[in-house]
Amino acid sequence: MTARNRELLNLFVVGLLTACGFASVYLASQDIPEFSTTSLSYAGFFLALFLAAHLVVRYALPLADPYLLPIAGLLTATGLTMIYRIEPGQAFRQGVWVVGGVALFAAVILLLRDHRRLDPLKYTCGVAAIALLALPALPIIGHTVNGARLWIQVGPVNLQPGEFAKVLLVVFLAGYLRDNRELLSMGFGRVGIPSPKHFGPLLLIWGVAMLVLFQSNDLGGGLLLFSIFLAMLYIATGRWPYIAVGLVLFAAGSYVLYHLRDHIANRIAIWLDPWQDPYDAGFQLVQSIYAIAGGGLFGQGLGRGVLLSDSGEPYIPFLETDFIYSAITNELGLAGGAAVVLLYLVFAYRGFRIAMLADDGFSKLLAAGLTATLAIQAFIIVGGVTGLIPLTGITLPFVSYGGSSVIANFLLVGLLLIVSDHVNRSADR
């Protein structure tokens, strides 16, 4: 079976699951269960959209990995179903964002064609990433939502430029680390620490991550950026000490912020003991844990979970964004939650496989960096809402409600598929 036929088959399975999911939520919401074709319209729309994406890939990237797009599709469908279950109106908006994401996905594949064309643009990408991160700090367009200054308003739409910055940052790091990896690898133990000339840009990134954290109050975003950086640095150099020093620097930076912003101190205190203040500071985490525990092994059933009060208010604030994983676990159980986590792990496996098969440093670092970005982001939020690590608000890729996140992650998958096609092409030759 060719890669594309395999992808098509996978997408049909995803489409079937989506139809079951929507039908289940729809039936549960009816007073008298009655089947209706409108419940299938979301699934039909969804399948059509991903078939379009599939045709673009079939035309432009015939040898690309056949699993990444279906995984992205299944995660998107899971997210849409849950958002539809929590707040049907928002599911429509999210659907529009998914259309935008697939459009950008197609545009990148058709227009960029070869990811190596990004190599000469690496510094442009780096500067653009910093510019995007700085945008919300600007007056007028920048604004604060829930204590984090992460948003800009362009006309009628709110955007989170940080979501796009992470992709640009990976492009910059892939190019920069490929150029400097040998010099950076020499440090520690052999010739002493690398010269500031080579280390400088890395310290700059650390500084930027800290600044983002401090300026925007976005602990999750700062942690993500810095973790991407450390992961790629490790892949490029193979030196654990970088990771160690990096973690010490991050901890030191966080420690200083710990004292400057009680916001962060609170997060850590809540993580250590969520029940010290279960009705106020610890409310979200405690309710999230109740939702996860209440799901049992196989969940309360899609559309039948204990998520909303009788007046329709979610028991957990930000249920459809930060806490969507808790909602999934309540309705689909530990089994459903584990399935979602495994999807990210399979995604990481396929992404890293592309990187390992690539024969040039830039492709390797780009594929590995993009894959790591998605996996780290998923872990930060899933680990946060389950109480494994301190809770920092960030979207669950493809699943959470949020336009910028969906669009940026489709961009990420598009780039990854371009690399994959390229890698498999050269392997064929």
Partner: protein, 493 residues
């Protein structure tokens, strides 16, 4: 670089396994987490159980039922109380936002079908396997809907309570407390439900005045306890004579009899029956001094004082009767801490629940044997099988049968020609005792009346207590006891 990528993958794999691991940990802790306040999972699980009905003794009058509502893909059973405030404090409420009270709380396991009786267990497993709604058991109370309604109407506009029970079995027929509240409003507006106008402060409509507080001063109704102690000791008989100068002397000071515009009453030479009939304080004052605090206290305990009165309602909704000091139950180690004279005629620092005083009347009515009061007659499974049925249970013999037999005619004289004439029922001998306790505020007496009838073959014992009354126990509580007794006697004959 491939080695690093491979290692990084294993790091991610470990982190994701950690996520699944902590998910498993929370699942393992789920039973403990479910019991925590503020966990909506437990609340919703309870709401999806078809809760049993709470019924009056006729098995038809519904005190609590369900209203179905489809919420978030599930059928929720929300509570409705069609008779609203009729027996609100006894039945209690079960809501989403607030905790439960009354029988709704104490019988929650039965009402939700979570009790461990074999038949219920079998039903529950079967329902679960067949995906059916879990159904609870119905509770049939001993409350007489008609008499309860009469009592509530008679109490309307006052702060008080009526308790009526069967002396022979302990079946509680009336458990009324005012001001009452509408339990249907608790969910929607707790403030609106509990802010009621009443001639007492605080109005506390949620307080079950029949069993809780205690809020009432027994006054002269307590003289039945003193008289029982005196007669049971064989040192006194109904014909023992006393000299009443209008007062008794305690700690060198005069304690006067009940006074009206003409001043304190003075009766001269009286026998024990006349002292009870006219409720002469000075006689009981002297009796108290002669019996002694120690023995009188011991006798109250035989009636059930100093213990939560037994009933199926939650323990925190029942309070012991007895001496109270600074808001706490006071069981003096040293008898000298208590004034024996005032104790004997029901003043001192005595506070009682109407249920306890109904138990006093019932013990006399039942030949000196105190039966355990109960308000639940039976619990019935959804299929109609009786899960449990309450059998009459004796607490103890409080006094000799001869003591009870001697006390009864003395109490009959109270109603025939003494302070309790307002409770007379034509064709039926009523044995009773009035109480009028001065609270220290003008025209704000705590009044009470305890009785049983018919005197020769007692079917009903009753206690009526009122707060802040402008009048005596005979004139305020007596007529209420009369109407409730009439209703109940019509029912039994």
């Amino acid at each position: 670089m491939n080695a690093q990528i491979r290692r990084l993958f294993f790091v991610f794999a470990a982190l994701f396994v950690g996520v699944i691991g902590i998910g498993t940990y929370w699942l393992w802790r789920a039973p403990d987490l479910e019991a925590r306040q503020g966990n909506p999972n437990l609340v919703v699980r309870q709401l999806t159980i078809k809760r049993g009905l709470v019924l009056a003794s006729d098995g038809r009058t519904i005190l609590a039922q369900n209203r179905k509502r489809k919420v978030q893909g599930r059928t929720w059973f929300l509570r409705r109380y069609p008779n609203r405030g009729l027996a609100a404090q006894a039945v209690g409420y079960s809501t989403i936002e607030r905790s439960r009270t009354g029988l709704e709380e104490s019988l929650n396991d039965y009402l939700t079908g979570s009790n461990a009786n074999l038949s219920t267990l079998v039903d529950r497993v079967e329902n679960k396997l067949r995906g059916l709604t879990q159904e609870g058991n119905d509770v049939v109370t001993t409350l007489d809907a008609g008499a309860q309604r009469v009592a509530m109407q008679a109490l309307a506009g006052r702060c008080g309570s009526v308790v009526a029970l069967e002396p022979e079995s302990g079946r509680v027929l009336v458990l009324a407390s005012t001001p009452t509240y509408d339990p249907n409003l608790i969910e929607r507006s707790f403030r609106r439900a509990t802010q009621v106008a009443a001639p007492c402060s605080p109005a506390s409509p949620l307080l079950n005045r029949a069993t809780q507080g205690p809020v009432f001063i027994p006054g002269s109704t307590f003289k039945i306890v003193t008289a029982a102690a005196a007669l049971d000791s064989r040192r006194w008989s109904p014909s023992s004579t006393f000299e009443d100068p209008g007062y008794c002397i305690e700690y060198g000071k005069k304690v006067f009899n009940y006074a009206d515009q003409a001043g304190p009453h003075v009766y001269g030479t009286v026998d024990f029956s006349e002292a009870v009939e006219n409720s002469i304080n000075s006689v009981f004052c002297d009796l108290g001094k002669a019996i002694g605090v120690r023995r009188l206290l011991d006798f109250t305990k035989r009636f059930g004082f100093y213990e939560d009165p037994p009933l199926e309602t939650p323990g925190e909704e029942r309070s012991p009767s007895g001496l109270y000091s600074k808001g706490k139950l006071f069981d003096p180690k040293d008898p000298n801490q208590v004034d024996p004279g005032r104790f004997a005629f029901g003043q001192e620092r005595l506070l009682v629940t109407p249920l306890q005083m109904a138990m006093v009347a019932a013990a006399v009515a039942n030949g000196g044997v105190l039966m355990e009061p109960h308000v639940v007659d039976r619990i019935v499974s959804p299929d109609g099988d009786v899960v449990t049925r309450t059998r009459p249970d004796e607490i103890r013999r409080v006094m000799r049968a001869e003591t009870a037999a001697a006390l009864t005619p003395m109490m009959v004289r109270v109603v025939e020609g003494g302070t309790g004439t307002a409770a007379q029922i034509s064709g039926v001998d009523v044995a009773g005792k009035t109480g009028t306790a001065e609270t220290g505020r003008a025209n704000e007496n705590d009044t009470g009346f305890i009785a049983f009838a018919p005197a020769d073959e007692p079917a009903i014992a009753i206690a009526v207590f009122l707060q802040n009354q402008d009048g005596t126990g005979g004139s305020t509580a007596g007529p209420i006891a009369k109407t409730v007794l009439e209703t109940l006697l019509r029912r039994t004959t």
